[in-house]
């Protein structure tokens, strides 16, 4: 009886918060670590739209469709669900920061639940609050929204390693690198303020972000950033961010890099590959070509690709492919992967230039110009 009353009470007390968020009055504060809980070893931060979910919002019609579709109508990119599931390991924390409005929390949460994704934090953008307060600049602004959300999250649950997932639709690459550099103590508060001014942040947001940046636990935590090339942007444009940021055409490529980083096992890479094949949008040949592409761009080494092929063969023979009668024998698959590597001859990828500090003010200005150009061309 007491338990029922407690659950009813929890439900009743949760209504004002949910309602408050929905009508734009309150912000959802992500829960930090429970008291006494050990800090996470690895935090994975994911964007949703165009990173995890195939979303179109280039036109008003797309926006409307995205707003009214049900959880079952929403589609994840092939391999993304398997990858996110593989990343949810003991000591790992999944934090979602999305630019979708808070009103979509229910449907997005339902979609993640349908996909079997368990998250630890789920932050959405309170755009209704911005409208009610007349802060129209904040509606489109990404840096003044995402950066404090990520810093706040790190203050609440500090991990020694972080991996970030975003896309090429907006400023994810800049935001993620800026976050990584703030956390690593490479960006002074003065420089950060200049960046925030360039990104048209409101004064109170700037003050809040500077405060968070001051308080955030420092360390070289951000090990890897992935940019999903949803717009198929030229990968070269991301090279200036250095080898830590990897533009990927699909999630098999992300899995390959994470295998190289020793975050995923060969078996887990196979699961990502299988999900992509099951989507019917990829064939084995595409996966083999994806391997060649990341080698050519210097994102994984040939040795790692060959080692993965050997380990995946072992995993396949020990049951990772049991019941998959639709696939050719794994020896054949492994050979096609090795052939793709051999096709490159002895040519080595172009080495990365030595790391130089990024000029974030210039990057933000360039991003604004690009966004303006895209809008003029009618691409949202």
């Amino acid at each position: 009886m007491a338990g029922r009353r407690k659950s009813l009470l929890r439900r009743v007390t949760s209504i004002p918060i949910g309602l408050g968020e929905r009508i734009g009055l309150l912000d959802h504060v992500p829960p930090g670590l429970a008291e006494g809980a050990p800090p996470p070893k690895h935090v994975f931060r994911w964007d949703l739209d165009k990173t995890y979910l195939r979303t179109e919002f280039d036109s008003l019609k797309d926006l409307y469709k995205s707003a009214v579709e049900t959880a079952a109508d929403k589609h994840a990119f092939p391999g993304a669900t398997a990858l996110l599931r593989a990343l949810k390991q003991p000591g790992h924390r999944i934090c979602i920061v999305s630019g979708s409005p808070t009103q979509m929390r229910q449907v997005l949460a339902a979609k993640l639940a349908l996909d079997g994704i368990y998250w630890d934090e789920f932050v959405l953008k309170n755009n209704l609050k911005n409208i009610l307060k007349g802060r129209f600049r904040a509606l489109r602004a990404q840096i003044p929204y995402k950066l404090p959300a990520m810093l706040q999250s790190r203050i609440g649950a500090t991990a020694e390693a972080e991996t970030l997932f975003g896309d090429d639709a907006e400023a994810d690459a800049i935001i993620y690198c800026l976050y990584a550099d703030i956390v690593a103590g490479r960006v002074s508060l003065q420089d950060l303020e200049r960046v925030l001014v360039a990104s048209r942040a409101y004064e109170d947001d700037t003050a809040r972000i500077l405060d968070l940046a001051r308080r955030v636990p420092k360390g070289n935590a951000v090990r890897r950033m992935f940019i999903h090339l949803d717009r198929r942007s030229p990968p070269l444009g991301f090279r200036r961010f250095g080898p830590r940021l990897v533009p990927v055409f699909n999630y098999f490529q992300a899995a390959l890099v994470l295998y190289q980083d020793k975050v995923l096992s060969a078996r887990q890479v196979i699961f990502v590959a299988l999900e992509m094949l099951d989507s019917k949008q990829y064939e084995l040949g595409h996966l083999a070509t994806s391997v060649q592409d990341v080698i050519r761009r210097g994102r994984i080494t040939r040795d790692v690709a060959l080692q993965l092929t050997a380990e995946a063969t072992e995993a396949a023979t020990s049951g990772a492919l049991s019941g998959r009668t639709d696939l050719p024998p794994f020896d054949q698959i492994a050979e096609s992967f090795r052939t793709r590597v051999r096709e490159l001859g002895n040519v080595e990828p172009v080495p990365f230039d030595p790391d130089e500090p990024l000029d974030y003010v210039r990057l933000v200005d360039e991003e604004h110009d690009q966004r303006r150009t895209r809008r003029k061309q009618g691409h949202g």
Binding site: S233, P234, F249, T289, D293, R296, V347, E348
Partner: protein, 358 residues
């Protein structure tokens, strides 16, 4: 998922290679979801170019080739001296079954020779034919295609009547598929429209073609009928076809030069040209060969699309699309089937009638 078609592209061939070729292939990778594009060429160069362009990294791959044939090299000598040339490696990949079609904007002679040495002819086809497209007054097919097809333009210099019949079958199958023209009008190029006009192989081919029901054979046409667009497929020997093609190209270049001369010479002429400029632009867009992409080498078990040497990225993309269309529409299979039907009909005929030899 539809069947995946692997299109091998000689990335080093063409006046604007490799940049325009890689750009064209990159664009094709975004446009064709059921194609895999294999760029053959210097992997270091291609590896530097591709990341500069919008493309799908799961649908474009690189196959290293350390050499390439220059546009002005002598084909046989170049192939002998450069066994690792990109066109040789590309033709080999298709011959080994690692690719389904080939696209090249490189040296025509070397490309044709590389294919001829490595590929096998379709059953029933005695000689391959290189086709070319030419803009005409009349349009054709569902897409209002402004180009007619002329074949052969150089692959087979001396032809027999059977070769000409084979060319007619191949040209018709290609026009049907690429121009979406259900019954392309096929004609033999001769020095008169009468059935008995022309050299003996043309007369004999005429006699054989009038018997076919598979083709829409309209008889003989003369040279002046080509630009008029009287036929959708013009069949001739490689020798004549090459002469005709170069003459037609020469005439259009001369017209452009004369217009330039007129533009400089007198104000009245310049004003006249200015008044006509929008019409000229319209004409240019209709007859823009870059939209066509390329012309095929027909008769082999795999399609080969020869893009113009001056091809830009758009022309290369379109050539890849044509190759994809040829694969998706089973062009080679259709040619082989029609050839078999003609062969069967010839077998059934009582001896002594319908002979195709002049």
């Amino acid at each position: 998922m539809p069947t995946m078609h692997r299109i091998v592209v000689d990335a080093m061939g063409g006046d604007h290679a490799p940049d325009a070729i890689v750009q064209g292939a990159a664009e094709a990778s975004l446009a064709l979801s059921s194609a895999e594009i294999i760029l053959v060429g210097d992997a270091a160069v291609l590896g530097r170019l591709l990341p500069k362009m919008r493309h799908d990294g799961a649908r474009v791959r690189v196959h290293h080739a350390s050499q390439y044939v220059e546009m002005d090299e002598k084909p046989a000598e170049a192939l002998a001296a450069k066994p690792e040339a990109s066109i040789v490696v590309a033709a080999d990949l298709v011959a080994r079954g690692e690719g389904d079609a080939l696209v090249s904007a490189g040296n025509t002679g070397a490309s044709v020779l590389a294919c001829a040495r490595r590929w096998t002819l379709l059953e029933g086809v005695r000689r391959a034919a290189l086709a070319a497209v030419f803009p005409t007054e009349l349009r054709r097919g569902e897409k209002d295609d402004p180009f007619s097809l002329i074949l052969d333009v150089g692959a087979t210099v001396d032809v027999t009547a059977e070769d000409l019949v084979g060319f007619a079958v191949m040209g018709s199958a290609y026009a049907k598929l690429v121009s979406s023209n259900r019954r392309p009008r096929v004609a033999l190029l001769s020095n008169g429209t009468e059935a008995g006009k022309g050299p003996k192989e043309v007369v004999a081919a005429h006699a054989a073609l009038v018997e076919t029901t598979e083709l829409n054979f309209i008889g003989n046409i003369e040279g002046l009928d080509i630009p008029r667009g009287v036929a959708d497929v013009v069949v001739t020997s490689g020798f004549v076809g090459n002469v005709v093609l170069k003459m037609l190209e020469g005439v259009s270049e001369t017209v452009v030069r004369l217009a330039r001369y007129a533009h400089k010479e007198r104000l009245a002429w310049r004003l006249g040209l200015l008044a006509l400029s929008s019409a000229i632009d319209q004409l240019k867009s209709i007859t823009d060969w870059q939209q066509y992409g390329g012309a095929p080498l027909l008769g082999f078990t795999h399609p080969f699309i020869k893009a113009h040497g001056r091809s830009n990225a758009r022309a290369v993309t379109n050539a890849i699309k044509v190759a994809h269309k040829a694969l998706a529409g089973n062009l080679c299979g259709n040619i082989a089937r029609t050839m078999a039907e003609l062969d069967e009909r010839a077998q059934r005929k009582p001896t002594g009638s319908g002979a195709t030899e002049g």
